[in-house]
Amino acid sequence: MASTIRVRATSSGDTTEVQALIQHPMDSGFVKDAGGAIIPPHFIQQVTFEHDGKNVFVADWGAAVSKDPYVKFSFKGGSKGDDLKISWVDNKGATDTTTAKIQ
């Protein structure tokens, strides 16, 4: 199974710009399927970006975030070749982690 996380991190001297795309249904729990039954809530609760042992970006997400969420941010520090660790946890306890190299 391929990773559910795609990351692109590029360093431009002082700062590192990070883009990530996560594959997740992000069901809010308010939507019904074709048969009229409620699709149970299933969404990412926390996303973490870790660089050099420190969290550089942590997001608490909820039902309002859309399917296959996309994140873009930048942080001070980080240089080419450094590892960036990304992980998420959803409300069912499922989780995925990946490590990307800063370019």
Binding site: R6, L21, Y70
Partner: protein
């Protein structure tokens, strides 16, 4: 006043006489089908309407006509939403069926870089065969259940096949076979026929009004519209195939959609692909 009324039938009679001759000529012209001339006229219409747009850029749909949307799209393309589907398609394509064969065995050149040749006219069957149809036939021939034509697996497979063909110009051929010409003609008829409660034809939006807004959307030009298939549509929150695009269009005009891969849809895809001959495959695409 009275004399005017009295004269009226005579005027009508004269008009009918006067129109009869050109009308007959027009009917005769419609009977001789010339796809190559159609394609030239079709292309010239769009290049004339949008002289600033480069020919190969029409495959980028609304982005070729709207600078603001283009900027957003260029940013989206750095991280395209169809990437997951593309990866899934690549994986599926490489994975053998239970009998040990794979998709590659069903297609020329192992299925790589051949999207631009579909749909083609199959002389044995006497009908148009689309890529989606060929994929499901490949599955069935190898004892696998066919996929839904509209999304998910089918979109993933066609996304991968389009991706390996990016940049190759559409090369649809109409063989010297009256049935092929009839299929082309039927596709053209379907494209220009008004239907649905809104009384729209495909051409009403995609020939008459490309670049204009329909609510919040910008209409894509019909020239090159299939080159970007399959597409990730934000509106759908996922991927969709050519079949899905046709069905949605019919529903949006409040018409009754056909079944995916109905003969009319196959012919329509044949016509639309043919008139975009020479324009590069750009799929999979991303659309609002």
């Amino acid at each position: 006043m009275r004399s005017a009324i009295h004269l009226a039938p005579a005027v009508v009679a004269l008009t009918i006489l006067g129109l009869a001759a050109p009308k007959l000529a027009a009917l005769h012209a419609a009977e001789t089908v010339d796809p190559a001339a159609d394609a030239r006229a079709f292309r010239n219409y769009f290049t004339g309407k949008f002289p600033k747009v480069k020919l190969e850029d029409f495959v980028n749909g609304p982005y070729s006509l709207n600078a603001d949307m283009r900027r957003q799209w260029e940013e989206i393309e750095q991280f395209p939403p169809y990437e997951f589907s593309l990866d899934m398609g690549k994986e599926m394509f490489a994975k053998p069926f239970r009998n040990g064969k794979s998709y590659a065995d069903c297609f020329p050149n192992q299925g790589i870089g051949i999207r631009q040749n579909y749909p083609y006219f199959d002389g044995n069957e006497g009908k148009v065969v689309t890529l989606e149809l060929a994929l499901n036939r490949c599955r069935e021939a190898n004892g696998e259940a066919p996929f839904s034509y509209v999304k998910d697996e089918m979109a993933a497979l066609t996304a991968y096949m389009a991706f390996t063909s990016r940049g190759k110009p559409f090369d649809i051929k109409i063989p010297d076979d009256p049935r092929a010409l009839a299929a082309y003609q039927n596709g053209k008829r379907y494209f220009y026929t008004r239907r649905g409660q809104l009384n729209f034809s495909c051409a009403s939006c995609h020939v008459q009004e490309p670049g204009e807004r329909i609510r919040a959307e910008v209409l894509a030009p019909a020239l090159g519209i299939l080159n970007a298939m399959p597409i990730y549509r934000s509106e759908w929150g996922g991927m969709g195939t050519v079949s899905r695009r046709f069905i949605t269009c019919n529903i949006q005009t409040r018409g009754v959609p056909l079944d995916p891969q109905d003969d009319d849809y196959r012919d329509l895809e044949y016509y639309l692909s043919y008139v975009s001959n020479g324009l590069p495959i750009s799929g999979p695409g991303a659309r609002p």
